[in-house]
Amino acid sequence: MNIMTEAAVEQKVQAGLNEPAVKMKGESVDVHYGEKQALFGVNLDIRENQVTALIGPSGCGKSTFLRCLNRMNDTIDIARVSGKITLDGEDVYDPKIDVVELRARVGMVFQKPNPFPKSIYENVAYGPRIHGLTKNRAELDGIVESSLKKAALWNEVKDRLNESGTGLSGGQQQRLCIARAIAVSPEVILMDEPCSALDPIATAKVEELIDELRENYTIVIVTHSMQQAARVSQRTAMFHIGYLVEEGATEKMFTNPDDKRTQDYITGRFG
């Protein structure tokens, strides 16, 4: 704890005054899966229009934390979350908060591309439809097109929007899933190892896309790959067996970490 606060202070000093606003905030978040505790008192700020990378060895709780941010843990019966997570200052676990609205505002992209077994168009149009974001077909067409464009997929699929989304290549599927998430115009996009099922070329494409998307969205990405974290993120948080070890500007984390475990992990001694 002590280290972290110091690191945060240092970070603030380094970053200077043009520090972006905090979009989401986790305060002493604990997660239990049944008897087992998966997360211990995590405090973490997610800043607006930045990419925050969550790194750490397998089973360290980084995906668990990510899934708390849009309450996806609710879909697991045995999961229990305590502590406080806020979005723009509002507690997302407040009973008054509507989980449907929350998830529309905090979108998510998964490890394995999971397009619906529907056409490409229907995949993207699904979110706007259920949330009633459009008044007519033309508007919906517009959203589908712009979302696919933002996801850098439009040119590849514009002639076959009615073909099944499951027929695309892995990288295309993942970008389709990103387009699907963008279509409901979320404020935050959570990405759970979005490139782990992709080949290097597709990975490069998605990484490039993430960098572009930062302009309009706040992004949290869980990744296994140090290089990926270094390439795409501005801030990095290091998790280890359920604890947040260290958090700070990516550059600093990778060059001069405060915690020995971070250093060991980054240099490949464990993980």
């Binding site: 879909t75 449907v100 998830r103 998510m108 394995k112 999971n114 077994p117 699904y126 979110g127 259920i130």
Partner: protein, 456 residues
């Protein structure tokens, strides 16, 4: 007699097994080189040699002896050539009855002669059977035991026999289908020799209660299957109207909403519905549902038959709920969790996820289940035999009574039946139609389900 013979063969095989094993053991001790097979295999081999040929022979003999004897007796009966098939059958049953000692009137000299002939043939047959079986057992035992030598590969021999038995067993399924197809086609062709196929296939009247004997009073007879087929699909449609929504909705609730404990209790309870014999449903339909449906119909001013299509179809639908529910259940469960999460992560409610993502994704699996259930509805017999009508009518009013293919098959064949009148043969023609329809539905359903399984 045959029972004793089977017992004798089993005993002989046992003895041969012991002798063979003993001889195998003695060879093993005496041998200077390693014996090929363990004594038990020598024993088994001897038992197979002893028992199997005789067993197969006896089975075939018993299957064909009656037909052959009947043919011989009839063949030597004066003037039998001019008799028709049913007259021959009557004659042979009379001869057999007289032979069994039940005489209602003084038999004619021809009959008496035929009875004597029958009795001599039967005696001959059983002596011949006994002699051949005894010879086969003896020769088999001799060969089987003599074959035992130090290097005799008894294990290979036993394993080869076992493999042959297994191959034959797997052919039984093919033989069954072949038997079904051949018997249905054969009898149906007989039928079409009497009633034109076009009348059967396209005729709009079904009145099969024709006179069998000249002195009976009955209708002219008409064998158009369209109204029967219509009734079948009317009842099936009513059944599916009950089963599809109930089955799919309960599967949705069980897989998506219910907790583990609820599911563990309710799912087996639903399966009970599939385990109840259909005759029970039939009786229940007659006892309880049909009167209810009838009074319902009368209360809303529709003239209702006591055995309405609705009662039969409704009860059948309930029987089909577990089929559709468990196949839909499988189909929902096969949709990967990732797809559900993808939908939830976009802010969809559970209901939206089910209706807009899971249902379309699981649709092929559900359709396969529905087709299997439909095939069952079309072939279901006892519920409709008890609860549906006998008169073939083309009506869309579910409170009226209709008849079905299976009902007609059963009513045409129940009681004594002769194979040469159109009434009986019509049942086989209907059976052929039923077989083709259900075969088609099954094949499509199995293919759909398999394709769906491959997808996930």
């Amino acid at each position: 007699m045959a029972g004793y013979l089977f017992g004798f063969m089993a005993l002989a095989a046992f003895v041969a097994a012991f002798l063979g094993a003993a001889r195998g053991r003695s060879k093993r001790f005496a041998a200077t080189e390693k014996t090929h097979s363990r004594p038990i295999y020598h024993g088994l081999n001897a038992a197979i040699w002893t028992g199997v040929p005789a067993f197969v022979f006896l089975l075939l003999w018993l299957l064909f002896q009656n037909s052959v004897i009947d043919m011989l007796v009839i063949g030597s009966y004066p003037g039998a050539d001019s008799l028709s098939g049913s007259e021959k059958n009557l004659l042979i049953s009379e001869i057999r009855q007289v032979a069994a000692g039940s005489v209602f009137r003084e038999p004619t000299p021809e009959i008496t002669a035929a009875v004597a002939h029958l009795k001599s043939l039967q005696a001959l047959s059983s002596w011949a059977m006994l002699a051949v079986v005894a010879a086969l057992v003896a020769v088999g035992a001799f060969l089987g035991i003599r074959a035992i030598q130090t290097r005799y590969p008894a294990r290979h021999s036993v394993e080869r026999s076992v493999t042959w038995f297994m191959m034959f067993s797997s052919l039984v399924a093919i033989l069954t289908t072949a038997g079904i197809v051949l018997s249905l086609v054969y009898e149906a062709l007989q039928f079409f020799a009497r009633v034109p196929a076009t009348e059967f296939l396209f005729g709009l009247r079904w009145e099969p209660q024709i006179a069998i004997r000249a002195d009976q009073v009955a209708g002219q007879g008409a064998f158009g299957m369209i109204p029967v087929l219509f009734g079948t699909f009317a009842v099936s449609a009513l059944a599916m109207a009950v089963a599809i929504p109930t089955g799919i909705l309960s599967a949705i609730y069980l897989t998506e909403y219910a907790n583990e404990r609820f599911r563990a209790v309710v799912k087996p309870l639903l399966e009970i519905l599939a385990g109840i014999p259909t005759i029970v449903y039939g009786f229940f339909a007659v006892l309880t549902v049909a009167p209810l449906v009838r009074s319902l119909g009368l209360s809303i001013g529709i003239d209702s038959a006591p055995n309405s299509a609705l009662a039969a179809g409704g009860v059948m639908g309930i029987m089909l709920i577990p089929f559709i529910s468990s196949l839909s259940d499988d189909a929902f469960a096969a949709v990967p969790r990732a797809i559900r999460e993808g939908s939830f992560a976009l802010g969809a409610t559970k209901g939206e996820t089910i209706r807009k993502v899971l249902l379309p994704a699981a649709l092929p699996g559900i359709v396969g289940g529905v087709l299997l259930a439909l095939s069952r509805a079309v072939g279901e017999t006892m519920i409709v035999v008890m609860a549906a009508g006998l008169i073939a009518k083309m009506t869309l009013n579910p409170f009226e009574s209709v008849t079905t293919v299976t009902v007609q098959i059963v009513t045409l064949l129940i009681g004594d039946s002769e194979f040469d009148n159109p009434k009986t043969l019509a049942a086989f023609a209907l059976g052929l139609v039923l077989f083709i329809i259900t075969l088609g539905l099954n094949l499509i359903a199995l293919r759909t389900v398999r394709k769906y399984r491959e997808k996930y």
